[in-house]
């Protein structure tokens, strides 16, 4: 398909020895980034489409694919994800590209002080809220208001398969404002 062709072209381009080693001029390096990120964006739509086939039972009947749009947060390394910070509730799908079972320490930017997380057996999942270090909060270009990270363990992810979690923040504006005030005082 067209999207995969875009990605195939972009990946082969950035395997150039100047791209790998950083021995290209700045504008060329920036162009590599642009080509690759555009291709990944195009593929995200494709992946979302395929995932909706994998999960037909979530929304409609078994015969129809559900039309949920899946997104990828590319700035989780800066603890920033506009999608998670604006959703009432969300479904997280953790896909395992390995050919063996694995597990993963999920870390997502957290806006609330309490969450309910349920796995596909509808069982409650243990989580921990970890305050973000000032160095992350002050990263240049970071615009997120999240000051904590939601950490939990995604376990028993099947090989070349996925597991899913239903995550819902429990909002309490007053308590959150209080916490943010206390946090900023202790982290000038």
């Amino acid at each position: 398909s067209y999207e995969l062709h875009l990605l195939r072209h972009a990946v082969s381009l950035v395997l150039h020895h100047d791209a790998i080693t950083g021995t290209s001029q700045q504008h060329v390096a920036s162009d590599f980034v642009r080509i690759l990120s555009e291709a990944i964006d195009a593929c995200t739509k494709k992946v979302s489409n395929l995932l909706s086939y994998l999960t037909p039972t979530w929304g409609g009947s078994r015969r129809t694919k559900n039309n949920q749009q899946f997104v990828i947060c590319h700035q989780l390394n800066m603890s920033q994800c506009r999608f998670t910070e604006n959703q009432e509730s969300m479904l997280l799908l953790v896909y395992n590209p390995l050919s063996v079972k694995t597990y993963h320490h999920v870390r997502l930017p957290a806006i609330a002080l309490h969450y309910t997380i349920r796995d596909f057996n509808d069982e409650e999942v243990e989580y921990q809220l970890v305050p973000l270090p000032a160095a992350v909060i002050n990263l240049p270009g970071r615009s997120s208001t999240a000051i904590q990270e939601l950490c939990f363990e995604a376990e028993n992810i099947p090989p070349l398969g996925f597991t899913a979690y239903y995550i819902a923040p429990v909002r309490d504006q007053l308590e959150e404002n209080e916490f943010a005030k206390k946090f900023s005082k202790s982290n000038p």
Binding site: W58, G59, Q69, I72, L92, P133, P140, E153
Partner: protein, 293 residues
């Protein structure tokens, strides 16, 4: 997690397998002990190679520092600890441009070091090349192992003048090798091996006995004259580049098999698992038919 107040900081964190201790006064890493009894004294600090007025300078193609050994950023860090049921952390602040988190996950046998470096200050010199340096009590006899293709491990040794009478013009660069997934040292007699896994390809060496050094960031105002004709001085949002990355420390008895796997096989699996981490996809939960789900 609970942030401990300054005066009651306990200088160690532990999980089911690992106990990590930092020096109570300096706040720097001091030792790591495994539940099976293996313990290594391991120090860790950030250093930098400064660029001076020397004729041959560092740049995109080459690494030519003005001296053979780097300078420590600091010898004392401010630190605090965070403790929770899933994650325990010791947060260190080396300077206003280097911070690090030493992290233990529940049920994991590795120590994760997450560092944030930059913008690197320039002004007092012509640039800096920042390394994370681990010093251990492992007698490695000048040999270490790196992979350069994420598959087989290669035995490396470090040249220096005293080893033979050849004139080495770039002694430290001659000891640097590509590290794609991990760099390891082991002691011949005590059968202890330590590996540092990386989350991206970096340059690494073991210049002195028992050391592991990994280059994590560079900011240079110099050009090495090999044709790029640009300095390695990238900016983002108007300031020098900030990099954030992770190292994972694993160690054990490399003669002993665990679950029919040698230490080396377990390191290979750990690297592979980290390199091919699961992907996260998110969708809205509003329209979801939860009962059917």
């Amino acid at each position: 997690g609970k942030i401990e107040a300054e005066q009651e900081i306990i200088p160690f964190i532990s999980n089911e397998y690992i106990k990590v201790t930092v020096d109570k006064v300096t706040g720097l890493l001091e030792s790591i002990q495994h539940v099976d009894g293996v313990k290594i004294d391991v120090g860790q600090n950030f250093y930098y190679y400064a660029q001076g007025q020397q004729t041959l300078q560092s740049g995109a193609y080459s690494f030519r520092p003005d001296r053979q050994r780097p300078v420590a950023v600091t010898d004392k860090v401010a630190y605090n600890t965070i403790r929770g049921s899933l994650v325990k952390e010791i947060r260190q602040r080396f300077s206003d441009w280097i911070t690090q988190i030493i992290r233990l996950y529940r049920g994991e046998e590795f120590v994760e070091m997450e560092w944030i470096i930059g913008p690197i200050p320039i002004g007092t010199d012509l640039g800096k090349e920042v390394v994370s340096l681990f010093t251990t009590n492992i007698t490695s006899n000048g040999e270490f192992f790196t992979d350069s293709n994420s598959r087989q491990m290669m035995r490396r040794t470090c040249w220096n003048e005293s080893a033979n009478n050849q004139q080495i013009k770039k002694p430290i660069a001659a000891c640097y090798y590509p590290v794609t997934s991990r760099i390891c040292i082991h002691s011949g007699n005590a059968s202890v091996e330590m590996c540092v896994l990386v989350d991206r390809t970096e340059g690494g060496t073991s210049y002195n006995d028992g050391e592991i050094e990994l280059m994590v960031h560079r900011r240079l105002l110099t050009d090495d004259g090999f044709g790029l004709e640009e300095t390695l001085n990238e900016e983002s949002y108007g300031v020098g580049l900030v990099v954030k990355g992770k190292h994972r420390i694993l160690f054990g008895n490399y003669r002993q098999e665990v679950d029919d796997q040698t230490f080396s096989e377990r390191m290979s699996l750990y690297s592979r698992k980290w390199q091919y981490e699961p992907w996260l996809f998110l969708t809205s939960g509003e329209k979801l038919n939860r009962r059917k789900w």
